[in-house]
């Protein structure tokens, strides 16, 4: 597969992946573009790997984790109040989803990446550890702390709503 063929087939998926990992479509665009330029220069080697896409995804995560030091996270671009849905249940689900996305976006970058890889990419702890260059125990630690944060935030939100 040439680099151009790879781009044609996988760029939309890479942008979705980067958006989920970064929680920021603008940052995702920058990260992907930067990664593609480097990947193109190394394509002969990358395409020789078993899974070129996995290699590029690893570059995206690493780029995000390195950029986080230079760039503050932007506001999550998902509309905050798509509340006018067809029925009450749907509206409530939309509100809850946006609240959850805001909480995910507020997680530390490495925890956020683990959540994205586990729940969007369905990767195992072993795969995530290999991708992030850390141990499985570290992955589990990131994940459990992230889930604890999300669930605590969720309880606080529910309590706040109940209090109103």
């Amino acid at each position: 597969m040439t680099f151009d063929e790879f781009l044609g087939a996988r760029l939309p998926a890479l942008l979705r992946y980067a958006t989920v990992v970064t929680c920021d479509p603008h940052l995702a665009e920058d990260v992907v573009q930067d990664v593609l330029l480097r990947a193109q220069q190394r394509w002969a080697r990358i395409s020789g790997a078993d899974q070129p896409e996995a290699y590029v995804k690893r570059m995206i995560v690493n780029q995000f984790l390195s950029w986080r030091r230079r760039r503050a996270a932007k506001t999550l671009p998902v509309p905050a109040a798509e509340t006018a849905a067809a029925d009450v249940d749907t509206a409530a689900r939309i509100v809850e989803r946006h609240a959850l996305l805001s909480q995910i976006a507020a997680l530390p970058p490495r925890q956020r990446a683990v959540i994205a890889l586990r729940y969007y990419e369905d990767m195992s702890d072993v795969e995530i550890a290999a991708l992030l260059g850390c141990s499985e125990a570290t992955v589990r630690s990131h994940c459990s702390r992230a889930l604890a944060t999300l669930r605590t935030s969720n309880r606080l939100t529910e309590a706040s709503n109940d209090h109103r």
Binding site: G8, R16, C23, Y119, R151
Partner: protein, 344 residues
């Protein structure tokens, strides 16, 4: 208590807000141009990715034109060979109002769209072409006065009158705009040219004329929609694995509150997300729809296999019962005339 399903649903929703690949490719192309020139000859035989609507389809387009009786089958079904036509359903045919009579050599048409998210703009149409060799993209867009913002644009002569040029802030893209009728503006947008260069877009714009023959034939149409919904965009285009028809509708509310539903008909690999996969704690939910077993891949994306091998994807901010109702009442006709796809 947050569940795994809720996290997956939220992330899939976030993924739908990913930036489009066309802009990334455009910016990428600028930085890669010098290298590309050196590689130009070797790229002739390779697939080119220039926009989400092109990319790999160009391989298919080329195969299509090179197909011989003994060669690989065309990726586009022969309308007469559709295994499951519905004789009782006639595809709607929407005339395309304008066409360019001149385009750079190598341009092939890759999409036709009618409608826009603006419910008041009934004139909205877009046709797009791509050149695999030069990686240039051209689109011809029609719209009402609300579709253009002429503030601060420089003037240019177009079609014997006065038009406007819109530069894209240092990007290799230029649009030429002119008023064709009191309520109708036309735009020729060219991507892949030096910033601020107007010769090519003006040449194309000067060639645009009324089109009495081209149509967009739509093989899928909405049946039931929630109260207040109106149809917005309908299109046929070339995704990576063949062709895809798409229709969309929404409730017309301002964007932060807007709720909508979209239906895509095409190849499975083009329609279904690469995100959450089956086999985890939350398996996809099967549901009976259109007399077969469909699957809610995530709570608001319903995938339905069709007898002829095509797939439907119904997605939107509706409850699952309503998404099933939308899918059940869709009118699906035979494979449309795709003779224009991949040709001049």
């Amino acid at each position: 208590m947050i569940t795994d399903d809720e996290i997956r649903d939220a992330l899939e929703h976030l993924a739908q807000h990913a930036p489009g690949p066309d802009r990334v490719l455009r910016q990428f192309a600028v930085r890669e141009r010098a290298r590309r020139q050196r590689r130009a000859l070797t790229l002739v035989g390779s697939a080119v990715a220039a926009s989400v609507a092109v990319g790999a389809p160009l391989v298919l387009l080329r195969e299509r034109h090179n197909a011989t009786p003994g060669g690989s089958p065309s990726p586009y079904p022969d309308p007469s060979a559709d295994p499951s036509p519905s004789p009782s359903i006639v595809n709607e045919r929407v005339p395309m109002r304008y066409r360019p009579t001149w385009l750079p050599d190598g341009m092939v048409e890759i999409s036709r769209t009618v409608g826009s998210p603006d419910p008041d703009d009934t004139s909205a149409q877009t046709r797009a072409w791509h050149n695999a060799g030069s990686r240039q993209n051209v689109s011809l867009q029609l719209g009402g006065p609300g579709s253009v913002d002429l503030t601060g644009l420089r003037r240019v002569a177009v079609q014997g009158g006065s038009g406007w040029v819109q530069d894209m802030a240092g990007r290799p893209s230029v649009a030429v705009i002119w008023q064709a009728a009191p309520d109708l503006f036309l735009q020729v947008f060219v991507d892949g040219i030096p910033p601020r260069s107007t010769a090519l877009p003006v040449q194309i714009a000067n060639s645009v004329t009324a089109d009495g023959a081209s149509v967009l034939e739509l093989p899928v149409a909405f049946g039931w929609l929630p109260d207040g919904y109106r149809i917005t965009e309908r299109s046929v285009e070339a995704p990576p694995h063949g062709w895809q028809a798409r229709i969309a509708a929404d409730d017309g509310k301002p964007i932060p509150q807007r709720s909508g539903v979209s239906v895509a008909l095409g190849a499975k690999d083009d329609l279904l997300p690469t995100g959450p996969k089956p086999g985890m704690t939350a398996p996809p939910t099967d549901v009976t729809v259109r007399g077969v077993t469909g699957t809610f891949i995530i709570p608001n994306i319903l995938a339905v296999p069709l007898p002829d091998g095509r797939w439907l994807r119904v997605a939107g901010e509706l409850g699952q019962a309503d998404l099933v109702r939308v899918a059940d009442t869709l009118r699906i006709g035979p494979v449309p005339d795709l003779s224009w796809l991949g040709t001049r």
